[in-house]
Symmetry: D2
Subunit: 364 residues, 4 copies
């Protein structure tokens, strides 16, 4: 499966073309739309009040409710756009946004309105594509789940990754604010609302698990490490600035005797590990335990507080106050995006492990 | 530039084929060999006493001291191998090594002696390839530097990333133990030697900077984000389990007003940022500031302490004591490997930003 | 530049997403629409009488008349579709069409109506994408031209490839029936109309030239040979079954002394060849002469004459008569498709020759 | 399976790294060496008298006689090289060789001795890689066979492609001069020897069949057409200047009613076609019939006859007489190269048809 996401925030539409989807997959649009609603803005006080219908139009690749094997093209036509909000961006790039780098990269020809192709709105087609991937993975017993691990210093009270299993995440995914502990969730929301009141924003961390992926997928070389494929996909999600697997950066203060995951045979005779500090991957290859990873999400760069920036026309440094409708914290809406991206990455890992584990197993 | 690393720890040799190196690049073998010596084992008490000459034989792609434009093949023939050390691995996989996943992935046909293709020894050809990349980048004024950020809870006393520049790293790279503060370095070495005495190992964090890369490289889409290309390359280095850019996971406890990097014009009229929490990248595209990132390195899984594992033959769980010559901490030797990998990734970023920034700039 | 063509003949729409187009390219829609009209059906007695507006809607990647650097998505919504014509295809595959192979490849889930994703109609978005490529190439002084070389045994009376230059093709491209000799063109049309009358079809050969591409593009290795990139692109055009460069299959009856192209210096001091049997490519690399190639086009498989086929339901062999509106000869309409495909391939060749010819020439 | 071929004619060695070979494949070196002997020079009057041992050294990827799943590196160290023969090439490029284009592409830094990386000698590692591919395919019942279709106007007397089957090619492959009709083979050899006597060379055509590949592999889109993958691979073989499938360029003078391949059920209930003008491929997808294709091979450009060329130093046009040991006709030695290349391409086609035909069939 390969995809190209297209569109700009204030253009005619945004969407995705998804190539390599196997034929005959029943398309559960109810599921996909539910995932998209979880990502959509305008649902809560801690999100932007913009209303975006995110209505998907399928142009190709599905017939009589099932995939045809030809590329899927899904389009979300833009409706609620207010171009006037963004006119000043032409001269003054917003700090830590892609206004400046986009201007350099595309020599000033990029559509800067609302962030253009860099807009967080482009994660809507990503959730669509990931939804198709999730449907495909479910057929194989593979599930993806994520929760808010931390926002503004407040951490969720979640089960230890060593105990993670797929069923734990089902109730979390049904919540508006996807945390294990609603108490901690409320504290996080307070942090967000306080930042909002102060015209500011906050960042966070999302933790995710991939369940049901058997041992033996991935590889040690550049193209194929399971971590590398997941990481590359995650960094294509705006605002992601870090990723760690298993104990991750915590390995720095662990001894090998603490960090290693001892093997044992479970009651079914499968090899398992007592702990899961490796996050389900050794040598770039899945070991059959859940894949556990966390991604760091930067605070929304769009804040109302005055900030220093440059003016391309006057060539001077000046102060900028961003007006408009923005999320004080993107983390809650990013949870289904991370799930979608993880599902797409798992499809890549499955494909990258060139069909045969051994030549004996090749079916043609 | 594309490469394939080949070889197994106890096979005839290891090496790399590197394709796409521009013609006419003078090959500074002195520089490459120096980088390889920094990685080589046997130099200090905190490293494995194995002696590996790591003598490189060039089979192709270089003529009269310059690259020809055809693929380079560099081979390091294996000499000091003791196969008997590893005979027990056939039955009992070492916890958190790739013995188990390699066995599953390759259906038991992998060469498990000394870790085979998963051996840390395979980073020697990576350093060679990265050395060629570093030579190429130097021609363009791009430099890569790294230091030990943390080992076993002890942190280096380094300049703030906001003040990083290329010149700071030159003296660090000449040290056997690449830290800014030798005092902190000594504390780290104590931690390592203590672990060694206890038949244990420790992990750490390496911090790296890429200097001189102009704004405008990379992009927002899957194939081209600067973070994604760097991350994918880093996870192809054994033992790397996390990567973060700029403030990274620290973003979770920052407000937007703290995290954003204000723009200003420097004395030469270039756009710069006051701080560098973004780590030199916005929207997947370089912003002209140094690229700053850190990678988490897990403790060496090879420890002398007894560990629980499975026995494939008896199908029972039993205790394993790993004998042999192992690094109690791989972090110091991994510093030049991370530099090499970063240089290869930067070459990919340069290439991925499909030649033209605009069509006007295309030279054919 | 990478693209994915999507859509099915009788679905909601067809189109293309084109990634990697440099920013700032003025989009000459008049030119693109003209190319698409050349391909469109319904213009002449020798073409299908179906009317397809082929009206392009641009969803992204263009703003204020210029490319933004983000992916372009161009959609042609389907309007004139008559599904009832195709109902029998479910049971009986049309000989030498993709009905059977599509059924196997996609396990019966492919949208077979009108050929679905295999329909020649999918060449409309290809012409759009190629039109963008042609605009880009024109900025660099590179032009593509093609003519009908042969139809049903009748050959065009064209200048020898050794004398080809860009200007020769301009008048041919303005003709409804793109040949050099209108006399020969009339004979070809007679052959086509005769076949049409007899419920049959005819094949042919298209010859093409690429002008203005300097020496030094391409390479000897798998990914990069100029011939290989062009060939791969041509075989993605339905009905193409062969490609030859320069003397091509004629080399089989030539001596080396006849086939070799002697070098000389022209008045400007450029190295040129007296003849162009090599078709502008040596060792997979352009030599600065026009690239000359020919592609074989099979007769339209859709014919009214009764043909033997199988019935998937009854598991018997039976006779099939295809009704509906079909081209008795696809060759004239395929000429702009071949030009479009050639332009896309040239963009790939330019990109594949990884930016630098030497490291000295790399601009960053 | 991906590979990089490395080496230069007069460097230290040539070879190939082959990535993605499934683990556990028994390596039949006898078979591979036999294929390499068929390609090796010095065996007959119609070939160059150079002796090249082509002794393969395996550096990695094979252990205890079976592939390990890690990349294979095979090296042929150069021994019999006479650099003095080639000193004049620095100034005067040989017509229709890659001397000129290589000089431009690599800015004069290419190793021009003996053609360097462009040398036909680089087909030796290609035959090795293809030999591994052939072993893999044999496990699945897929065979590749080729014969000399034509040399210098003389054609082999071969069975019609409609009757081709794998068994027909076994005896041909055992011949020094791989033709069906030894009588025609003798005439071809006369043509070759006459050209040799006259210091000239001749070209030809090789025809090949791929047997046992089931229906359903390949696809209609750019990356995946069976013809495009085969063509791209063939054009990476030096001297190949054309490829056609089935009736190929002959389609130009056929009616649809003649060209179409009628379907029928064979006695086992499989769908087959009465004829095979499509060469086993429809819509870019295999139809279960043998894949039939022909490639055009240009006459060896190295001829003793005086030829006009340029002198880079004097900037004048002058006459060149090539001395040295050259094949008057490369076609007989190219037969196993085409077989090897075809096998590699088939592996790509199998992989490109992303594992599942339908999601139901995916095994993980």
């Amino acid at each position: 499966m390969r995809y190209i996401i297209f569109g700009e925030s204030h253009g005619a539409g945004i969407g995705v073309v998804l190539e390599g989807v196997p034929a005959g997959l029943p398309l559960d649009m109810e599921f996909v739309e539910q995932q998209m609603r979880r990502r959509a803005p305008g649902r809560a006080a801690f999100a932007t009040p913009r209303k975006e219908a995110d209505q998907v139009t399928l142009l190709s690749g599905v017939w009589e409710g099932k995939t045809t094997g030809a590329p899927l093209c899904a389009v979300i036509y833009n409706t609620d756009t207010r171009s006037k909000d963004y006119s000043r961006l032409k001269q003054c790039p917003r700090p830590s946004h892609a206004d400046f780098t986009g201007n350099v990269r595309y020599a000033g020809y990029n559509d800067y309105r609302g962030g253009g192709h860099f807009s967080g709105r482009l994660t809507a087609p990503l959730v669509f594509a990931g939804g198709v991937a999730q449907m495909l993975l479910r057929q194989k017993g593979i599930f993806v789940g994520a929760h808010i691990h931390e926002i503004g210093g407040v951490k969720d009270d979640a089960p230890l990754p060593d105990q993670w299993e797929s069923a734990l995440f089902a109730p979390v995914q049904e919540k508006d604010f996807p945390v294990f502990s609603d108490l901690q969730g409320e504290k996080m929301q307070e942090v967000i609302l306080k930042a909002k009141t102060e015209q500011d924003s906050v960042g966070g961390v999302i933790a995710a698990g991939i369940f049901g992926l058997p041992a033996g997928y991935g590889g040690p070389d550049l193209r194929e490490t399971a971590e590398g494929i997941l990481a590359r996909q995650m960094f294509a999600v705006p605002a992601v600035k870090g990723i760690e697997f298993g104990a991750g950066f915590g390995f720095a203060s662990l001894r090998g005797s603490q960090a290693n995951d001892p093997f044992y045979y479970d009651e079914k005779g499968n090899v398992r590990t007592r702990t899961n500090h490796s996050g389900g991957i050794n040598g770039g290859i899945t070991n059959g335990m859940p894949i556990v990873f966390r991604v760091a999400i930067r605070p929304t760069p769009s804040i109302g507080k005055p900030q220093e920036t440059v003016n391309f026309e006057t060539k001077t440094t000046e102060m900028l106050e961003i007006v408009g409708r923005h999320d004080p914290c993107i983390v809650p809406r990013a949870v289904p995006v991370i799930e979608a991206a993880a599902a797409l990455a798992v499809c890549s890992i499955l494909e990258q492990t060139q069909a045969p584990v051994t030549w004996e197993g090749v079916e043609i």
